[in-house]
Symmetry: D2
Subunit: 336 residues, 4 copies
């Protein structure tokens, strides 16, 4: 049994991680921590776990944690995470980090978009970007996984086959995405007050969303050259899911059938990426670790649609997929 600690267990990705580990046949929760004011019995913090989980969420105590767990799912926010990850690693745990702190390799870019100095560049260097469908081999031996952002997961899975094969212009990719509101986290705000968000949809983060440089970095790794992405997120009136609509210019004329075959071949054998024969719907992936993709050829452009659950494949599910890989477990455990 892999013993799992969740650091920052009181938020939405913490809850989703608890939910998945409870169903996991070869992993068990052994330690949960959060800020002191958010501690308490799991079933008090999240009433949906009443009778399902007897653990307490407690203030982080690294000494206590050491020896209690084999892996930490670190669900702390950006900037906070890099303060704790070094301690978790030092305590001998594998770490899957949900924050952006170990995703952006270029600290200048990180510091520009996150407005803080990076304080753990040593670990940043060895962190592996945890998108298993693209970087499975590196993940296998890693101690520290930078679990991808939700938008990058959906967008990168959508365009990886094109970038890897050099089929599209890399200076004019547009990623238009709509996310459900669980992506905004659990803290109440004016924008996401029910009477404001219900029956509403709007764009945000125009030109400034932090997932844009992350997408560009990883897209560049896949393509082997610089990639320029215009990423525009929107918030829509639903709980879970991200629908990405990606527009690209092909480098040369290809047919829709050729693209479809390319995608099916690229993702052959992947449990969690399904190439569909029609436009995906977020409801079909909600609550699952699956990504549904449909590439189309429209008016000499390629339009790729992808759907994921932002809390599962876009966060906790992917983290546990990474955990399964690191510990040599069947990759789909707890996630089918």
């Amino acid at each position: 049994m892999v013993r799992v600690a969740i650091i920052g267990a009181s938020g939405y990705t913490g809850a989703e991680s608890i939910e998945i580990i409870l169903r996991h046949s070869e992993a068990e929760l052994t330690y949960l921590s959060a800020l002191p004011e958010e501690c308490g019995a799991v079933e008090e913090v999240f009433p949906r776990f009443k009778g399902r989980c007897g653990l307490q969420i407690e203030p982080l105590d690294i000494d206590k944690l050491t020896g209690l767990a084999d892996v930490a799912l670190c669900c702390l926010p950006h900037k906070v995470s890099m303060g704790f990850v070094p301690k978790l690693l030092k305590a001998g745990l594998k770490v899957v980090d949900f924050s952006a702190d170990y995703r952006i390799k270029d600290t200048e870019v990180y510091e520009k978009f996150y407005q803080v100095k990076h304080t753990d560049t040593a670990n940043l260097k060895r962190a592996v970007y945890g998108l298993p469908e693209l970087f499975r081999e590196q993940i296998k031996g890693a101690c520290l996984i930078a679990n991808p952002g939700c938008f990058p997961t959906g967008a990168l899975l959508a365009i990886a086959p094109l970038l890897k094969n050099g089929l599209v212009e890399t200076n004019s990719i547009i990623v238009n995405a709509v996310t459900g509101i669980s992506g905004a986290g659990k803290n109440p705000s004016v924008k996401f007050h029910y009477p404001n968000m219900n029956e509403n949809i709007f764009a945000y983060g125009i030109g400034t969303h932090r997932h844009m440089p992350e997408m560009e970095q990883i897209a560049g790794v896949i393509a082997g050259s610089d990639v320029n992405i215009l990423f525009q997120p929107h918030a829509g009136p639903f709980d879970r899911g991200i629908l990405s609509t990606v527009y690209c210019h092909p480098k040369k004329k290809t047919t829709g059938e050729q693209f479809m075959k390319l995608y099916k071949d690229f993702y052959a054998g992947e449990a969690f990426v399904q190439v569909c024969s029609e436009a995906p719907a977020v409801k079909n992936v909600a609550g699952t670790n699956y990504c549904h993709i449909y590439p189309a050829f429209v008016k000499d452009r390629i339009v790729v649609f992808s759907a994921i659950d932002n809390l599962v494949k876009g966060a906790s599910g992917q983290a546990i997929q990474n955990m399964n890989i690191i510990f040599g477990l069947e990759e789909t455990l707890g996630l089918k």
Copy 2:
């Protein structure tokens, strides 16, 4: 033209009042006030008024207001309202007050449920309860209207024909109601954070909701004797509307047809109360000042269903209906 001031214009009932007055052919907005931190151009405070209303919301200045308006729609919260209403009356304005401060005639009950001493008992005495379908004559000559609560409006219109005619036991009435979330006001909270409220429904205010004594008081006036009501509100995942399901025991055997005729006769000539031949749906009254009612006879019990929009018939629309009556205008102006 009736000149209308809105005091407390920055909340949902303020916005709804603005919306209605903008369409009103014989009334015009002349003054809007709110707390200093919520002031600004109407179209900044509420982007839906961009290009539709050029007014400013400004900190309340009674001197300035005097002479600018004939009537104040006072959208202040409970307890705050009774601090300002005396000044508005003194300035010579008619006042339609949205708070509970002038609804509960028994100050002991008021003080128990609202946990504050009543500071304006003089005006409390002469305030008229502004449910036009039941108290139109008193409203005509009134200077101060206590605009009814949203739940009491739906419930009282549902049971008034029964109470007025002494047809039901007055010690066992149950009002089960579900409200949309605009009823909770504009301030963000954990309960009404979109990911908490979406796809959810729950009861609240169990045994303690402040609209219970208000219902009982007015029901007592209608019945001419004490009435005991068990009122249980629920919050449901929609913006607007209250569906009330009222359960009563008839005093003697009557048929469904007799009840239907009773309701149709009782509300004959009323523009805003429609007796339906099937269960009402909140969507059919959303955005309108109408109340749809359907009385049914089930297993020797009477079950009456009513639907209103909590922000219109349950607040701003009813206030303007009251205003129309006071100023001798056609009662439906701005509201059809």
Copy 3:
């Protein structure tokens, strides 16, 4: 491994059953059938199973089924079910039947509410009502389970402790319930067309809902005497969940604390019934087999709130809980 067949696999309860069995460690799907026009690969019929289930849904062939499965989850509609259940039993399968055909013991009542003659009274007699928290012992040895209706499940769990202990008047119980729209099944209709149902709530089945006699029969069994229930369902704008608000008159004075203790004792040791210390929210049980209950004492009346997921504890989850009991498995397998 228990081999599971699902008869009528193309509807919502079929899909939910597939979802649960896919996560079940000691049961496996071996046969799925539906009407010929609804057959095909599971992942075509339900895109959410893409890559998760390789089975075909095929037209029912009892001969083929025999020997392939140990138990049939029979998700056929009322009236249709009793045509197939005898054949499934004859083929040697245990049957958990989702329809109402084996729930109502009094065929006269059945025939009045379902408007059809009962054609399988032999099996009706030996069918066991599958509410494990109340009838676990009988379920253990049963060949045919009448899986309870969704509304009766929520209502009966809410009032069983009161009825069992003779604490309430049995002639004046009111069950007011709101259900999500998955309860209406998968066939499009005007009422449940998105623009009609969204932002809406309304009552239906006034005085005629078929779950009323089912509730009364089982409540009578629990109480040991006739019970009269006024049941009023409503449809609300969400996918999953039933919130029941049950109003009763206590026979004698008792305190809130006494009731709370009664409930905690009554459901002590039950995995799936959780007695809460505040009003339950359907979102906390959505997607789970749990029932959250909160009993309150208001103005000399008892008001009990219960929340379940209509597709899980109200249908497929409870069916699999029954299956687990019949086959001597841990009762919570696949359902935690």
Copy 4:
């Protein structure tokens, strides 16, 4: 008083037109028609008009209609409309046609996308495209208005200032739009069954949506040269509104401030187009005839956001705006 007939009054755009005309101070409904099976009292067909409209919807009788109305709002579907419009014109009525039949000037394109031969090319030639902000002068003298499609309205208002001033490349415009479900009409379907559409979002009409050639034609008229638009619609879980996100390549370097000024100048004096200083939200225009626009400059691309209500500015509101213009009324009557 302008006397208004609504042909095809039983659908959503018919209902919205009724709603607006009821509030219109210088127009009145005099005749409503629909298919025989959808006729009846307005308040039976649409319960929300109970007590608000005493008219009957009746089978179309051109003879009766002649003399009863000055203008017909023709809410018939594509293909059907061109069978009736010639008769309405012959009867001496002005016609505002909601269908696509008189929008596409090139009958070859029309016949390709609508799969039917055009049978009224005479009137097609003289029909004026009813987007008042761009074609007000032609509308003034017109007898037949082709009321724009909902998506073209939102997209064209977003890009008109750019096209008119030759500021963007016309071969690479992408219009990504999300519409609420009222746009799908009132007939139930699997896709828009509540449990399918709720909590869902998906793309549709990939490469084939009929509003694409309409957008391109009118964009071409505005630009004075061919315009190629990649239009991708999505359906989102809300009733009303279209959010368009339009991506363009500027021809030369310009600043965000210059674009903002361009937009403000272009729409100066337009009542219904508001240039905003942040991303528009559909909820702010829902139920209104307004279009909110925000142009942004991101990574050398121009991204323009626009929000409208598909049933108002995208259909009935715009039709009545056109009607106001034709009859020399104040353009905003009934629509403020």
